[in-house]
């Protein structure tokens, strides 16, 4: 992930907040690879994880500073690669003829994947892991053509005892 940085942001759970964030990336021409938003333990807040592609430290600090100006963003930080856990969920529909099914299922088992659907000539599997892990798994399945694939984008958390931010909702309205 050399030219990529993972940003984690805690934002107010308003409609439109994803648009504010993605709009800023769009109009300032920053390169974003994935963005995911989801509920947190506190319904008033949403956690966003963004993978930003840049080699330029200055651009990176501009991105953080510009994002910090969005009123709905309560806290934003670049996750320290050495101290963070990254994961995303991948779902793939592979072409798999019945005669290869056993071999296919063995491969999914060895890679800790869940087989969630088996059709006449396809199978859907899910697996989670770091983006690199998932890319490596796909290579192992080179013999099985991909019919469809979807990934959730990265979710990340700092591997430490303290929370990323105390959720203080004193300022919260709307």
């Amino acid at each position: 992930m050399s030219n990529k940085k993972v940003l984690s942001a805690l934002v107010r759970n308003h409609p439109g907040v994803l648009q504010r964030v993605s709009g800023l990336f769009y109009r300032r021409g920053y390169n974003i690879e994935t963005i995911s938003a989801c509920a947190t333990e506190n319904p008033k807040f949403t956690r966003m994880t963004m993978v930003v592609v840049t080699n330029d430290e200055l651009e990176m600090s501009q991105i953080i500073r510009q994002l910090s100006k969005i009123q709905d963003i309560r806290r934003i930080a670049i996750l320290d690669e050495r101290k963070a856990i990254y994961s995303e969920l991948m779902m793939v529909k592979f072409k798999c003829q019945p005669k290869h099914r056993t071999e296919f299922l063995n491969l999914t088992f060895r890679n800790h994947m869940n087989v969630v659907y088996i059709g006449d000539s396809t199978a859907i599997v899910t697996v989670s892991g770091s983006p690199e892990d998932l890319d490596a798994i796909l290579e192992k399945f080179a013999a099985y053509p991909i019919v469809e694939q979807t990934r959730t984008g990265l979710s990340a958390m700092e591997a430490s005892d303290r929370p990323f931010v105390e959720m203080d909702d004193a300022e919260f309205i709307n």
């Binding site: 439109g16 109009r27 200055l58 501009q62 500073r65 100006k69 709905d72 309205i173 709307n174």
Partner: protein, 554 residues
Amino acid sequence: MKLNGSDIICEVLLEQGVDTVFGYPGGAVLNIYDALYKYSDRITHILTAHEQGASHAADGYARSTGKTGVVIATSGPGATNLVTGIATAMMDSIPMVAITGNVGTPALGKDSFQEVDITGITMPITKHNFIVRDVEVLAPILRKAFRIARSGRPGPVLVDVPKDVTAKFAEFVSEQPKDKVAYEADDSSIAKAVRLINNAKCPMIYAGGGVISANASQQLLALAEKADMPVSCSLMGLGGFPSDHRLYCGLIGMHGGYGSAMATDNCDLMLVVGARFSDRVAGDAKAFAKNAKIIQIDIDAAEFDKNVLVDLTIRGGADDVLAKLAKEVDKADHAEWVEQIAKWSDEIHCTQDDGDNATPEAIFAQLNQLMRPEDIVCTDVGQHQMWTAQMYHFQQPRTFVSSGGLGTMGYGLGASIGSQVGNPDKRVVLITGDGSFHMNLNELTTLASYDLPIVVLVMNNRVLGMVRQWQKLFYDRRFSHTDPCRKTDFVKLAEAFGVTGMRITKRDEIEETLKAAFAKNGPVVIDCQISKDINALPMIPPGAGADKIITEMN
């Protein structure tokens, strides 16, 4: 006490110290206008000809008074007509609250009559915006809107209120506005800055709009005088430093003076205050002040290292930081350096004579005689704007009202309305061009309705002068669509609106005409007929440095 949404809006406006709003009624804001009728003894509403005019008026009111401008418009086209005005305020960091009506909440998202997603539309051009779906949160949202508009780096905030919310009732308890959050600059960066300033041999200050918005002119003057640092102002900074001061070296940037440009190239320390190195100032960002250590003071951290890399940043309000610096720096004497800059300034003159005919230079010479230091000059955008910046002698902050960042042609007339309404005791002059004036001259009707004694000087060269100047310089004189062959008679036009019309064609008519216009004490339009071949000079071409300065054309 239980109040409906519209009364709550008026109560919060009063709570926030708002006594003047600009706007235009319509279906979705009927309830709000009904409340304004009731509150008309405490809230003055200025009705414009078009919502765009109202948005520029609120902006001009804010720039000239330092208060937050408020504009009200109806849903759909009323709201979209505010867009240019909001974007103008955003680019120049002007505190403004725009209140728009919308269709009732059950009709939202159904493509109802006069429905538009104005929060979606204005997301990139507001500091923040809200749609209020519940009357219970209306008051807190409006208070927050004012707080966001004023705090830190100011800017416009839009609050969209569906019609049913303006009619529903909620409990209202008045609250006093919270004090501004002060940004305390940290002592260690102040100490570093003081060392750099004390060690500099050829220091200068590049002052921008942040000096005006933080009301820091006195602190700027104190620091400049104590450390004997010459000062250049960006367009947005004009008025932040007295132009007749020995340390003033003029406008900086594309249409700035040779003195400013050479000082920038040769200084060994540049203190940047509330300015953002826009491409109109730092044409060549890599070579800008290349021999200098740069200290940048700004309240917005996102301005640091955005366009030009600097050596030291100080986050804080210009008033606070400059006061601290002025207190800490050594008294210095840079007489030789100041003299050198004055010599550079004198090296280049761009006088453009036209025989007996009136010229911008002759008009500004008279205007400088007749205007008092506290009087206000508004402009539109183009050559006349640059002439104003170059030739008018600004003495005080908040006396120059002009669209800098967005460069909004058609801004000036609305802005002059807001300036005059906010400053009834000051003289307000609008300098405009025939191109800009044609865009929004509908607001002449507002001057007549409220008998606003604004004097409008139309620098009428019958062409779209600034674009034409670029066509001369960079497009081999192919004058594509910059000579519109218009037949407008501005004197008759003014009269048709119920405004006095006058005309200046010859140099010797300038003084008496201006005096007669000011004596009218009512709205006047003066058609100032000038040659289309007078340019905005000097000019440094985009992306170039002081060595490429253009001093004559044609």
